[in-house]
């Protein structure tokens, strides 16, 4: 099970001039067994369109998406319950302002579970748990979600999806607009969720450091085409990074500069954390 893309294309209708092809012939598999996938690519490369296919918010113009065994094509099938698919694949949008509406944070997080007919008591319990997971304490339960800071809103919106307990958690730029500590905290949270529950995480990001450190797999989109699907190690060893509007992670950049400046030919620049990098520099220096 999981999500399978079979030759998926998606066209946006445009006024007068026909259409704009946002996705072109995408085929790939996402398993629901503990993958950590980062989706990267230039702004406008179709990332958000791609993730909206994952919980059947939009239907492919051509090809098929198979979600938990349900085939989604361009035509709406009366027998498929699209709504229930969204409990398996939880999608968090980029801007929390688009979903927060209730009087209290607790009610807002409970909105999802209640829609899926979870009893109110259980929903309240999962709201509390989800809020704890995203790093906010219980005092937030009774506050208005509309008066929180940007970062707090973001966390509450993520909690709103976490409370659904989906098998695949899809996040559209969850770390944008957060401070570095908040970023790290959220990434650690996703990592933990994946390790503890075996859920698959799919997230869109522009931060190559995060991709290199956390992802088990990277998907690169360029102008609607899937140009890379593999491990981050393989990605950053490729030569065509800048063609796909990507860059090296910060640590790798620094090690590259050090290697060039001091002519250390035997140095391995592909280190994920500053600690590993420091050890590598020490190793090369001492030999």
């Amino acid at each position: 099970m999981g999500i399978e893309f079979r030759h998926v294309s998606y066209n946006y209708a445009k006024m007068n001039t026909g259409f704009f092809q946002a996705l072109h012939d995408i085929s790939m598999d996402i398993s629901d067994k503990g993958e950590f996938i980062c989706l990267v690519g230039q702004t406008g490369s179709g990332k958000s369109t791609l993730v909206q296919h994952m919980n059947a918010l939009i239907f492919p113009s051509e090809g098929q998406v198979v979600i938990e065994g349900n085939v989604i094509t361009s035509k709406r099938n009366k027998k498929t319950d699209y709504n229930s698919l969204r409990k398996h694949v939880g999608l968090v949008f980029q801007f929390p302002e688009y979903q927060l509406f209730e009087e209290t944070v607790e009610k807002d997080i409970m909105f999802g579970p209640l829609n899926f007919k979870v009893p109110a008591k259980e929903a309240a319990a999962s709201a509390k748990e989800a809020l704890r997971q995203v790093g906010l304490d219980e005092s937030y339960l009774e506050r208005s979600p509309l008066n929180l800071s940007g970062g707090e809103k973001k966390r509450v919106s993520i909690a709103g999806i976490l409370a659904l307990d989906p098998d695949v958690l899809v996040l559209d730029e969850p770390t944008s607009g957060l401070d570095p500590a908040g970023k790290r905290h959220l990434m650690e949270l996703f990592s933990e969720i994946r390790e503890n529950t075996g859920k698959t995480i799919v997230l869109i990001t522009h931060d190559m450091d995060l991709v290199y450190q956390y992802a088990s797999r990277v998907l690169v989109l360029n102008s609607g085409e899937l140009v890379f699907d593999g491990t981050p190690d393989a990605l950053f060893r490729r030569k065509d990074l800048s063609e796909n509007h990507l860059d090296y992670p910060g640590v790798v950049k620094i090690l590259k500069a050090v290697k060039e400046k001091f002519g250390l030919s035997e140095m391995d620049v592909y280190k994920k954390t500053p600690d590993e990098a420091a050890r590598e520099i020490k190793r090369v220096m001492s030999s």
Binding site: M15, L57, E97, Q99, F111
Partner: protein, 321 residues
């Protein structure tokens, strides 16, 4: 949501595109007055022919104008029915009896069930509804009666037909004019035209500049807010909100989940817009310059002549008949 277009401007190069928006707005108002002055069907038919000629001159596809008529189709059909049913002047054109009996009631029930079953599978639902109506009347007339309990004599009078034709043709012409205006004028030009036309109203306390600004900001933000509504709906659908189905109580909740974020975002946007305008030195009430000033050209003079002739013609017709 993507299909909704407010201000259905379609880029083009025909005669009407060259006209000053002020001319076009004034023309539509005056032509409407002229049409309302006409008194009988032959005169209206001449006006209709004239408006079709105008479409041809402006090289505007008649299909597009017909498209603009679609939302008013229901109104036209109802006008027709009401006139035909309730107008009892003039000669009798056609009359027939409808019988209410046990057999015809059963047949009617069967037809209704058939219609409800067909509805989800048919594209032209309104057409199907009309077919159903006609079918229902045919059943009431032709089904042999068992246990008849009422008879209804149905009479169509000539005046009813005439009046309905009169109202519908008038509506057709007026909509054609306004469609031409919105098809060939950019919303921004339209508001600038309105602003200039309404300027004299300053004397009665209406500030046309501000009025035009309000309209153009609203027009500008309609697509943006639709876009946002689509996104909010997607975000809430991700949390299991089903906007299509569900009980009334759930539906209310789901609409609230759409409206609250929409209002919050709209207010936020208006604040941002106000800041952005002020930081670019916008001062309310001060005179503003524009990149594209409106100008009155030869084509406008031709159009103005034509309109004056139309108005004069209809006044003459009004006095003669």
């Amino acid at each position: 949501m993507k299909g909704i277009v407010i201000g259905q401007y379609v880029p083009g190069t025909g005669f009407f595109y060259k006209l000053d928006p002020r001319t076009k707005i004034a023309a539509v108002v005056i032509l409407m007055v002229a049409v309302f002055l006409l008194k009988n069907i032959p005169q209206l038919l001449i006006a209709l022919a004239l408006s079709i000629v105008l479409l041809l001159v402006g090289r505007i596809s008649i299909g597009k104008v017909l498209n603009g008529l679609k939302p008013l189709l229901v109104l036209m059909v109802f006008t027709f029915f009401f006139q035909v049913l309730f107008n009892t002047e003039g000669n009798i054109v056609w009359q027939t009896d409808f019988y209410f009996s046990l057999s015809s009631m059963l047949a009617l029930a069967a037809l209704t069930v058939l219609w409800r079953l067909l509805v989800p599978h048919v594209k032209f639902r309104f057409l199907l509804f009309l077919v159903y109506l006609v079918g229902a009347f045919a059943l009431l007339h032709y089904i042999p009666s068992w246990y008849r309990f009422a008879t209804w004599q149905f009479v169509i009078y000539s005046k009813g037909l005439e009046m309905s034709a009169f109202v519908i043709i008038r509506l057709l012409i007026i909509i054609t004019f306004s469609t031409v205006l919105t098809l060939t004028t950019r919303p921004t030009d339209l508001t600038q035209g309105l602003e200039k036309i309404m300027r004299p109203m300053k004397f009665i306390g209406i500030n046309s500049d501000e009025f035009a600004l309000i309209i153009s900001i609203s027009l500008r933000f309609i697509p943006t807010i639709f876009d946002e509504a689509t996104k909010i709906m997607a975000a809430q659908a991700s949390r299991g909100a089903d906007f299509a189905q569900g009980k009334l109580k759930n539906k209310v909740k789901q609409i609230v989940s759409l409206l609250v974020p929409m209002f919050i975002i709209a207010f936020k946007r208006s604040e941002d817009l106000a800041d952005a305008m002020e930081s670019r030195n916008f001062v309310p009430g001060q005179p503003r310059t524009r990149i594209y000033e409106l100008s009155f050209r030869k084509a406008d003079a031709v159009a103005a002549m034509f309109i004056v002739i139309c108005l004069a013609g209809s006044i003459v017709l009004r006095i003669l008949t």
